[in-house]
């Protein structure tokens, strides 16, 4: 009797552990899923696709700091993209909507308002940058490549507070490096933990790349982002790798970055992330994506570990079932079912007999 109780307790603890670990594994999977959908800038292809039947892929090209890719080279690449679309026969109805791109460079500027002045980090952007980085507008609007004037800037909350003490600043004058600009709006920076951790530049401003080049004379693109229609898998990446002037840079496919196969393939590289010899200074959104990528990979490992014990237990249970299942089935389950069936038949026959003999209780 004591031995039986001990066995029962041990088995119950074991089963509870399995259930707990299974639950933890499910939680990890849910967290991975949440992380994978946290960074909006990594899902531009999905946003851009909208209700279109065409599939798209998002590509990021990062250029080493020692190299210089100018606007003219970007314009040249745009022509090559059009050629690639033409070669793929995708431009029958025009190329509008088949691709969108943006490029940026980080730097430092001095901002002045009628109230105060401060140094700030600047992200010089061109193309449809805010299609890729849909920062929440607190006021105003984004500026676009097609704007007539290139003198609008977007302030983040911090710089808006420092210079003006508010966020409704659309249309107000501001000086950048002594030149007059116009406040186009105020944006809220990404609120996810990874982006906040990756962004270390402090108060910042987004301004036109043209205006930045005029101010500083520095025409070097750091990051180029592209969303391109993908008639076949890998078309966008192949186009970027073959035609973009990388100059030792790196091409990253953002679309599907946090899917299971990509995470599994990323696991062996976890240690190698610490070694970086390509001279690339990644923008904060890429660093945030890498943080998420690492976290998801680690969570995937933990998930596998958590699933290990329940799966083994389930496997043992299944083997036991297979081994003893037929005996129990014939000696216990089927026999009982047969007896029950016979008893039910006998009772039913007796009721019918009593009914015919008038002995029914009704």
């Amino acid at each position: 009797m004591r031995i039986g109780r001990y066995n029962f307790t041990k088995r119950a603890i074991w089963h509870c552990c399995c259930i707990l670990m299974f639950i933890l594994a499910l939680v990890c999977i849910l967290v991975i899923n949440a992380l994978a959908h946290r960074l909006d800038c990594q899902r531009t292809a999905e946003h851009w696709q909208g209700e279109s039947k065409e599939s798209f892929s998002q590509i990021s090209c990062f250029i080493p700091a020692a190299s210089s890719v100018t606007r003219n080279e970007i314009y040249g690449f745009r022509y090559k993209v059009l050629d690639a679309l033409h070669t793929a026969a995708l431009d029958a109805d025009g190329t509008d909507g088949l691709w969108v791109d943006a490029w940026s460079r980080e730097g430092k500027v001095k901002l002045s308002s009628s109230r105060a002045s401060t140094d700030a980090s600047a992200v010089a952007v061109d193309g449809e940058f805010f299609t890729f980085h849909r920062l929440r507008l607190l006021s105003g609007s984004y500026f676009r490549e097609s704007d007539l004037m290139k003198d609008k800037v977007l302030l983040d909350e911090e710089i808006a507070w420092m210079l003006y003490g508010g966020t409704e600043l659309e249309g107000m004058a501001i000086q950048v490096n002594g030149q007059d600009f116009l406040v186009g709006g105020v944006v809220e920076r990404e609120q996810d933990a990874e982006s906040r951790r990756a962004y270390t530049a402090g108060a910042g401003v987004y301004m036109s790349y043209d205006a930045y080049v005029k101010l500083t004379g520095d025409d070097r693109v750091d990051c180029y982002e592209l969303v391109l229609a993908e008639p076949v898998k890998g078309f966008a990446k192949q186009t970027a790798e073959s035609s973009f002037p990388l100059k030792g840079g790196e091409v990253v496919v953002n679309t599907g970055r946090f899917t299971l196969p990509r995470l599994i393939s990323h696991i062996p590289k976890l240690g190698d992330r610490a070694i970086q010899s390509n001279g690339i200074r990644y923008p904060y959104w890429e660093n945030a994506a890498r943080i998420v990528e690492d976290r998801c990979s680690i969570l995937l490992i933990v998930t596998v570990v958590f699933l290990l014990l329940p799966l083994i237990t389930a496997a043992v249970f299944i083997v036991q079932l297979l081994r003893y299942g037929s005996e129990i089935l014939t000696e216990s389950v089927l026999l009982r079912i047969a007896e029950d069936a016979r008893e039910a038949i006998r009772v039913r026959q007796r009721r019918r007999w009593e009914k015919r003999q008038g002995r029914h209780d009704a």
Binding site: G50, E51, L98, V100, L137, S141, L148, M149, G171
Partner: protein, 744 residues
Amino acid sequence: MENSVKSRGWVKNAAIIFLSVLLVLTFFSNTIMNRSLPEVATANVTSDAITARVRGTGTVTAQASYQVKAPTTRKIQSVMIRSGQEVSQGDVLFILSDGDSAELDAASETLRKLQLSYDQTAVSLPSFDYTADRKNIDRAKQAERDAQAAMQKALDNLANSKEGADMAFYESELQARTMALNKAMAALEETKATVAREREAAWGDVTELNAWVKLLQKNIDRKSSLTVTKKVPVGASTVAFWSDTSMDGVIHLPSFMPAANYRIVALADMEEQQGEGQTPPEQPGGGNMLLTTQPEGTQGEGQNPPETPVTEPQQTEAPQQTEAPQQTEAPQQTEAPQQTEQPQPTTEPTPEPTTPVVIVVVTTPEPTATETPPVVTIAPTETETPTTTVTYIQDFYIEDKGLTDGEKELIRDRLDKYNREVFNLITGGETEIGANKMQALENEIYNTRQALESLSMTDPRVSQAEAAVDAAQAELDAITNLLGGYAADYNAAKQAYEDAKKTRETLETNLNNSMISNSKSAAGTSLTLQDLAYQIEKAKKDLEELSGGEQNQIIAPVGGIIDAVNYTAGSTPEKDQILCTIEVPDLGYALSFSATNEQARRLRVGDTATVTNYYWGSEIKATLESIRTDPKNPQTNKLLNFTVTGDVNPGSELTLSVGSKSQNYDIVVPNSSIRTDANGSFVLAIEAKNSPLGNRYYATRVDVTVLASDDINSAVTGDLGFGDFVITTSSRPIKSGDMVRMAN
């Protein structure tokens, strides 16, 4: 029984708790749901104007400015102005230090040098004296008058001596005879010249002889080739030359060719030979060839050439000298022989040759030909072919050279001998050819040349012309003699008069030329003096300006605002250096900045700009005055030039915002509400739905087309109406169909 009571109590408590939670959730369901929805900010669709504005910053400058320059190189003692200071006309700008300036010294030195130069030029001005020339002219006039009187006197004497004579007739006769004499003398000179030219042409023939010598020399050097000549067909013994006459059409064999032994087998025209080739054809045996053999025909042996006194040329008066003229020209037969002559040893007159010499080959007669007439008709037989052709010499310019018969004979004999030698050489008659033989040939040529040179100008044409001169002279003498000595006196007096007249005219011409030349020289000197005088006056003025008034102050020429002061006290600006610039505000101010071509295309001249960075003072008005190509970026940019009026100072930096005429649109939404994806531009409109718990708001996609945009709004077309709400921003990404929560 107790157990059943406990069980009902637990169920009751659970039901109460469940219902309580359900009630709470029901009451706060709207709030809880709203908390989970993304919050959106919206804006109304309006009807408004879209005005694209172009902004730029530039520096205000005055439309006109005045540069104050240093009048002299002098030290600045003090500066009375500062940048930005407003000055009036006449205000003192700079005070200069005392002392002469470098320019003053230089101007004084320049003036001194100019005056010295003027004096030197004036002193060296030449004076012209024509007294001596005029006296000479007077004397010449006097001599002319005297000569004229003498001539008249001689004429009178002549008239007196020949009373009744027609002096006019004599005069005309005398003149005519004189002219005839002059004409005859001219004809004589011309004849002499013609003969000389012809003689020069004759030397060309001598040149041809020399060419032959040269050719012979080659054959001498090639004795082996000469043996080839022995292989002439049977009976071939010699060649000959003769003259064909148009008179009788016969060929006359030379005297050394027994006519009985030869007959003509072919003819060859020299002109044709000249036309076909300039040099004799090459022999198969290698000789340079006077002979060309033909393989066909029979070979004759032992035919002796005609007798040829080989040594005869040496026995003549040929000089022993070796410098016989050697001509280097090749024997090019550039001229067809003009004349031919049969070298007749007899005294019979030779028919006048009229056709070129023709060289033919003759062969010994066939055995069947018993006789060959000494004179044969030119009729080559068709059956027989020529075996050998020879280029030969001719001599026969002599006929037209006006030589005497003896001279012709001399030349003919010499050439005849020469031809014999040639003949022997060609035919192999002489197998032993030595240097002496060649020398003999050259001697012959030399002699011929000497003979030609010795020919006197005894050409009958010359003699005839000389005779004509003599006759004209005789006629003139006859007239002169007819008039006697008075005529000679008259002629002498007339000649003296003519000479005196010519002398007088020459003197007058020389005087005129001298006066013209001197007047030009005087005019040039005068101009130099005038220029010097002008320079002196100018130097004086400069000197007066530099030192005049001893102005130690530089005053403002115009009123305005000092823009820049370029020198400080103590510095010494050089003359004409800009000391300061005064902005003259009377003409207004200007401002310009660069804009892209796309921006400039939106603007029109006359558009009014607003100043966006200048909030104080009175109103400033800026008007777009012109749009020009930006010289710094001519491909991409334009320069927008504004006129600025109002309370503004030069140097101020203004930011202008200028926009074209605005246009009203029915549907205007904020720029922040317009989104773009692969399907085009769209806005997310708010759609409200009623529910028992209140209104629910959904984001609905509305596709739009952007018509125009400015800094804030965009005009669009789409399924929107005035007053609709569109989402401008949201707390989280939203898509069409999502339920949202309104911010307010």
